[in-house]
Amino acid sequence: MSQNSRYREQIDACRPGTGDLALPALTELARAAETDRALADELARSERFDRAVSTAMHDVPVPAGLLERLEARLAAADVTDAETAGEVALPPAVPARPSRRAILATVLSLAALLLIAIGAMFWPRPGREITNQQLAEMASTWNSKVPTTKWLKLTATSLPPARFAVPVEVRKPVQWQSFDTPDGQNGFVFNLTTGQRPARLYVIASRDKYSLPTTPYRRLEDASGGVAIVAWYSGGLLYVVVVDETGQKLSDYVSEKDIAAILHGLAARPG
């Protein structure tokens, strides 16, 4: 039986970018992967597969008008529930409860406005071709737009969705927050240090086309101002690390693939 067969169930139980290797049923896998390069490679491949599947799982078009239909149905249900239960939950100063017809009329009149907004949100935008020079400029802009007061501490209960998890090649972050790029793409930004000079990882869901590898990383030569920018694109996610190299180095925060060494550190991460 190959090592992969023996550990197959454990590998499949491991969620990408989490501390799952520390869980009881997976510690044997964590120990074996420290010394077995093939097993470590399979674990990394499985993690990349999971990220790609997770991205595709969430890639479901939402039907136009769904929100309006839900709101209308809930408004009708709200009135029905109140009538059948005999509830009159109004404080004295509030005027008489509006009729069902009035509620539906209000909802439908909002529907026209909402349809336009939802259409703009969910209409798929064709992917653009982004050069590395453009990406370097964009990343510099992002760095200046990250609000410094909205950082969240990374804890077991305060985490972004797993598909946006920090790859093993990047140093464990200390803070995170959701991040929308100026051109409307969504993702998260991770603070890799609380020092004076910023070092950040951006993980952005993107349909654009890049000249980037799928594994870390390519250095963007057009970065300026003492800032190092590296990027890679995998599974529908754009990863960009921006490090102000005054008093620190890019390699303090991100390395190219060395799974065995990194997994050793991964197994020690809290779950």
């Binding site: 197959r8 454990q10 790609a52 799982m57 479901v60 769904l66 709101e71 809930l74 797993a162 799928t214």
Partner: protein
């Protein structure tokens, strides 16, 4: 099933407060709820029904959600619960399934991007019990321990179902692999040229 809500607030909410909370809940999370429902059911009509059902339940229980950031995970758990109830109504839950699948591949294929339609077809072939486990893993991002606790089944069963379901996905999503010819075409499949679409696997 483990209660993932945050308990009743003291004193209870006013109807106006609940109304505002619910409206906000629907606006913020209807897309995520629909997407999960779609992956569970496999078609848009049932997914919309399931989404509606979920928010109708939320009408009665929205005050249980104290922390806004837990609202989405709570709603996804409600969707899943509704789906499982409907699954049990249709037929008894049977263990096993995927017996016709070939021996599990040892290695994960190197796949950078997954085709959405191919994924839908692969999920449609999974028996409901396997599909729920794999979707709890990918959508609700639960650990095997949490899945076992939520579904009230042994950890070993979860790991086995998860591994077999993911093995099924690996085989179906590996682009160079030709699907076996022993199966009847499935309505949900839409595979590429030159391939025989696989049958829906009966549990």
């Amino acid at each position: 099933m483990a209660d993932r809500s945050n308990g009743q607030p003291e004193g209870g909410p006013t109807s106006q407060q609940s109304s505002t909370d619910l409206a906000e809940l629907v606006r913020a999370h209807h897309a995520a709820v629909y997407r999960y429902a779609y992956r569970l059911c496999g078609n848009a009509t049932e997914a919309e029904d399931l989404t509606q059902q979920t928010f109708l339940i939320a009408v009665r229980k929205v005050h249980q959600v104290r922390e806004a950031e837990k609202a989405c995970s709570w709603l996804l758990a409600v969707v899943r619960s509704c789906f499982l109830k409907s699954l049990r109504k249709l037929r008894p839950v049977a263990a096993g399934g995927l017996e016709e699948e070939p021996e599990q591949a040892d290695e994960t294929p190197e796949i950078d991007e997954v085709d959405r339609e191919r994924l839908s077809a692969a999920l449609a072939d999974l028996p409901g019990e396997f599909r729920v486990v794999v979707l709890m893993f990918y959508f609700e991002e639960l650990s095997y321990q949490e899945i076992a606790s939520e579904l009230e089944i042994p950890i070993g069963t979860v790991m086995s179902r998860l591994s077999r379901a993911k093995g099924h996905l690996r085989r179906r999503l590996e682009t160079h692999k030709v699907v076996g010819t022993l199966r009847v075409p499935s309505a949900a499949s839409g595979n590429g040229v030159g391939q025989t679409p696989p049958a829906r696997v009966n549990p």
